[in-house]
Symmetry: C2
Subunit: 278 residues, 2 copies
């Protein structure tokens, strides 16, 4: 595996290979990332993984400074996973002027769901992913459904700006008790870790209700929020939306997704589940 | 020359050729465009010209509906000029959802100079050019210095979003009397056409003054505006800026550009001239 730190070197390497599948990450790799890489290996001849903790998508008071940076361990995992290139630029390489002057501006969806709690987050995600796509020039990119809203925004950007890349969504990796794999799980203490699977359980409960014909979406959302609050969570949102587009769910929509974000102590967890209306 | 109307066909063609130089236009081609194409032929093996009157960059009350559409004559000129492909998508091809949801958002420069008089114009330009770059995947694109602010914004977008393309600026084509070539010149009646070269003459006068050591930029700008107003122009702006970046010119900057926009009757003309401080 080659470790490449500069855009110029990556572009030179890119000219030497036929097809590339790309997995952008912020590092601190876990099984969820490795599942993305396994999918990527199936899609194209060579896999590029980027590791870049993107300041642009962190808000004030968020965990940019303490976000775990574990490049050496990450590189070992990627080498073992059969990745061709680890692209690990530093901040000056991607943001040479410090300020990013041109942004990819997503539509109002960027201010809904997680976006309502993280101003500019999805603009920062869309912008850095646009930059990375332009640098890597991959044929395919794999994104986890764990970050469902991110996936919807990346797919929207690709469609709307005609970006020449195919987006492959990959199912969320989960611990045995259902907790979605996330770099932020390591912030949880033992009690919080024991409580954490309740988030996914509430999504499953809503899925069962909706599949059984319950169309009182607001009541279902509120019930899940109450249950979580009663168990010590601070809930940002629980929402039932149209799958894929993330438009507000209307009666008659069959393919839905229920998304949630809630905090346990200082740790903010997100999860979602695609569900079917009866 | 092939005339291609769909993105899918253009992408299929693109795979069959090595290097491409791209000239995006809104059609109604004149000698200025042909100079861009001549430059493009020198840059790469194949030239693609797009013709697309981009609704997104026209404001309310601007001339989108009456913008001249002359595809047949344009195609004849391009064939004669040795262009490989004319890409002429219709609106539904580039804007299938009618609304464009994701935009390339330029920095504050988009609201200065021409941008102060044309809200959202440069966002619309940057967005459609980003789309066209993603569709054509050219190695090089040629832009005229006539639209100097547009060129600065495209170059800024390419740099800041790491777009894999090289931008080649091409000098402004001019009539024998100095008037910059523009599709909008045909809107001028005979009296206006006779008056029109004064715009460039004022830029040249400022250039002479600045080269001779006159650093009273605001006074020079105002003098040019007064002269134009006295001859029936409605002046939007005359401004001396730093060349390339279009930052506000500071004392000590050597490489400058003076830009102007002014209306004769209903026709808005723009022009600029790169000048050197003493």
């Amino acid at each position: 595996m080659q470790i490449i730190h500069t855009i110029a070197e990556l572009r030179a390497w890119r000219k030497t290979v036929s097809s590339v599948a790309f997995v952008p990450t912020m590092g601190n790799l876990h099984e969820g990332h490795l599942a993305l890489i396994e999918q990527a290996k199936k899609e194209e001849n060579h896999v590029v993984v980027s590791i870049f903790v993107n300041r642009l998508q962190f808000g004030q008071g968020e965990d940019f400074e303490q976000y775990p940076r574990t490049l050496q361990q990450d590189a070992d995992k990627l080498r073992h996973a059969g990745v061709a290139v680890l692209f690990a630029p530093d901040e000056r390489e991607l943001y040479p002027n410090v300020a990013q002057n041109y942004h990819v501006e997503p539509p109002h969806l960027q201010n809904e769901l997680c976006g309502a709690f993280r101003p500019h987050h999805f603009r920062g995600v869309a912008t850095v992913v646009c930059k990375l796509f332009n640098i890597v020039q991959a044929d395919t990119a794999c994104f986890g459904k764990k970050d469902y809203q991110q996936l919807a925004i990346i797919q929207g950007m690709v469609d709307d700006l005609n970006v020449p890349i195919r987006i492959v969504p990959v199912d969320t990796g989960r611990a045995a008790d259902g907790l979605a794999l996330s770099s932020r799980n390591q912030y949880l203490n033992a009690d919080e870790r024991a409580e954490a699977p309740r988030l996914y359980q509430q999504l499953q409960w809503i899925g069962t209700q909706v599949a059984a014909g319950n169309h009182h979406y607001a009541a279902l959302e509120n019930a899940a929020k109450s249950t979580l609050s009663a168990h010590g969570w601070t809930v940002d949102y629980v929402e039932i939306r149209e799958a894929g587009s993330l438009n507000v769910a209307r009666l008659g929509d069959k393919n839905l997704v229920v998304l949630a974000a809630a905090r346990l102590g200082k740790t903010r967890l997100i999860d979602n589940l695609e569900i079917q209306a009866a």
